[in-house]
Assembly symmetry: C2
Homo-oligomer: 482 residues x 2
Amino acid sequence: MIDLRPVFFICGILLVTMSVVMAVPAVADRMVNNPDWQAFAISSLLTLFAGGLLILTNRGRAVVLSVRQAFVLTTASWASIAAFGALPFTFAELDMSFTDALFESMSGITTTGSTVMTGLDQAPPGILLWRSLLQWMGGIGIIVVAVAILPMLRVGGMQIFRMESSDKSEKVMPRAAQIATGIAVVYIVLSVMCAGAYWAAGMSAFEAINHAMTTIATGGYSTSDLSVGLFDNATIDWVATGFMILGALPFVLYVQTVRGRISALLTDSQVQWFLVIVGSAVLVMALWLMTTRSVPMALAFRASSFNVVSIITGTGYSTSDFGQWGGFALAAFFLLMFIGGCAGSTSCGIKVFRFQVLYATAKVQIARLMQPHGVFIPYYNRQPISEEVTSSVMGFFFLFVIAFAMLALLLGLLGLDFLTCVSGAATAIANVGPGLGDVIGPAGNFKALPDGAKWVLSAGMLLGRLELFTVLILFVPAFWRG
Amino acid sequence: MIDLRPVFFICGILLVTMSVVMAVPAVADRMVNNPDWQAFAISSLLTLFAGGLLILTNRGRAVVLSVRQAFVLTTASWASIAAFGALPFTFAELDMSFTDALFESMSGITTTGSTVMTGLDQAPPGILLWRSLLQWMGGIGIIVVAVAILPMLRVGGMQIFRMESSDKSEKVMPRAAQIATGIAVVYIVLSVMCAGAYWAAGMSAFEAINHAMTTIATGGYSTSDLSVGLFDNATIDWVATGFMILGALPFVLYVQTVRGRISALLTDSQVQWFLVIVGSAVLVMALWLMTTRSVPMALAFRASSFNVVSIITGTGYSTSDFGQWGGFALAAFFLLMFIGGCAGSTSCGIKVFRFQVLYATAKVQIARLMQPHGVFIPYYNRQPISEEVTSSVMGFFFLFVIAFAMLALLLGLLGLDFLTCVSGAATAIANVGPGLGDVIGPAGNFKALPDGAKWVLSAGMLLGRLELFTVLILFVPAFWRG
């Protein structure tokens, strides 16, 4: 049996923290005299109570987590934050079912950005702030998990990053707490810079703050039903594009850069690959728009950059309905969803380093086919890749595809059409936001889906955000035994 | 440099063999006084000439192939047979472009079954026979390659089957030639049985012979534009279903069974998994048809069995337009395309044993996550799986997904819609036949596609049929150097 008390204790701390954050939308709504402030106040008190109870009943234990406890903690913290984060949605004057509220909250905390809400432009400030805050917390949360916990859990090849932060000679910083602090500072600074840039480009202060939080978190919630398309402003589009890319780079490298290793970002092979992939996709899509849709060059590059970056980073903002861009664009966006950004960022999907490992392994395999007795070793970022990492990454890739297929089939059983099934499954597991097609595409909304589909998608978001294995392992009976 | 003379020599033998086979449709057309007999006669002479030239200019070499020569031979033989197999289509009175002819020939020899032809019901017997013969030759050809060549080339985990036929104590037969003979006998016997069953069920002798050849080869060419749907006959549907399954099982096991190891088929774990997958898919799809489409039970099971088996085995016959069965059915068929049948059969796709290896590996990985220092070994068919096989299979899976994605994107660039792109890429690389949607779905035809798309699909068929690595390795410069 696993001693779950440290898990409950830390979940308690997280919930108490969240109850404090809930005061922000409460204050905002109180300032504009919107009655929703009570919803936030009640939610905050309930969350505080639950969190406090967990802390009080489980304190006094030395908090040194075993691997199993860390697995349970990761999933339990995300699930409990999603559940309590849904409270304001149910209590506010939105007339939202608990399914819808949980979907919205899960989509927030996993930085997915799929929404069941409409009428955002008329919504009170509290609820908009709450959505942005959920994504902002989810963003910093996943970076910390990816840097501090997943490498220890050896999930999906993440152990490759263990060396980087601890075992290598060029140690970033000696202790995990210091790393976390460094990352938090960078996260806050980038958010402030992003908000300033949005404001300078023409957003109101409120819009700028909200969008900054969901841009850095590559989340994609907006304050308008039209998303960033509302502004129809080239500068805003480029600011968003730039900061979405910044949100999709490994945050540890920012910390290294600030601490004097100026070249840290540019010499990292994952960053290089990511930028090359994004650049190529933007170029091809812009040419496609220019040649087949007669879009003028400047507009083609703006629309292509914004939407390619929005999809590949898993942000999910939209400025135009790319459902109208033709079969190639749909197929391309569908595939870009799976790629995702860099590990250790707020972005989602399979992630670039895994494709690098898979590519290096495939190259070695082809070499072995030609010289069965030769010795070939795959490399990642100028370091040899261990057999263990290779097979972890390949296992992750396989499981990702299978999980996607299962989600798509479940959505199909619930009566959705083909495009909604496959793109809904992809957008959930890759934490992107919009799907493809009329129902859940960039011009659509998830509200119309049946409740069952919302639960399936919520589960998919959690699964994708926590790198599959972390969640799935909890369903293995042997995990709870020995 | 690689000495290509043995490769040319064997290709020559194959072409001469094919020129003899071309006499069959020539005779058939001559018997009904159709002028197309000349097209086959000319094609036969040209092929005989080319084959003879290759034999004469390259004979006298000891035919012991190196690994590299075997790689070149596999791709070269398929490509040359596809090219010369296209000749009758161009010469016959069909007014077919060379692109269409090559597509039809490639689709035949790879046992895919996608067609650009319409008006099959009025077509002369020669051309129908030629399509069936192409698939029948392609079927026996791929079994021999899968049993005798791919394990030696260590492609995509096929080395797992090397032990079975040579290194293990329970040797099937000592020599490759004996295995090939045994398989050929089984192939012919099954074809004759299938033809007899079709004929007894109500087909004409000509229809029965053609369909028998394309059923055992899990190819899917028919003598009617309506495919097997023309007959609207339950017995014929069940005969087809049964023999498609037989075509998708490992032929080596039939030989073992005949030679006295009666339990060979039933105790093979690949066969067991395949039957369980098919059974589950049939059951779910039948329930789906009964509950959402109000199809009566008997009809639901008949339609479900026929279409599920037709797609998963990569045959591609159709009796009904399953495009009308709703989003779940489309998503399910889309995924079934990728699974395929057993290795060493005529069927295509990723193949069941690879999913078994991937599943066993994923299980081991999850066990390792829980006990990082434990020793866990994956098993296939009660044998431990070597690290080399595991990574070969994973590499194959990765490459399969990437190749599918690239094909879909290329089709998108050529202007096709989303559903045609993704299902076209899947149906080509998995050698299934029909895609999904209005254009290339079970009720559609590939004729309407632009020429570029037909070339992309032809390349995809070849790639999928020869297990990717076999073809792709020829594009690695190092292959041709050392």
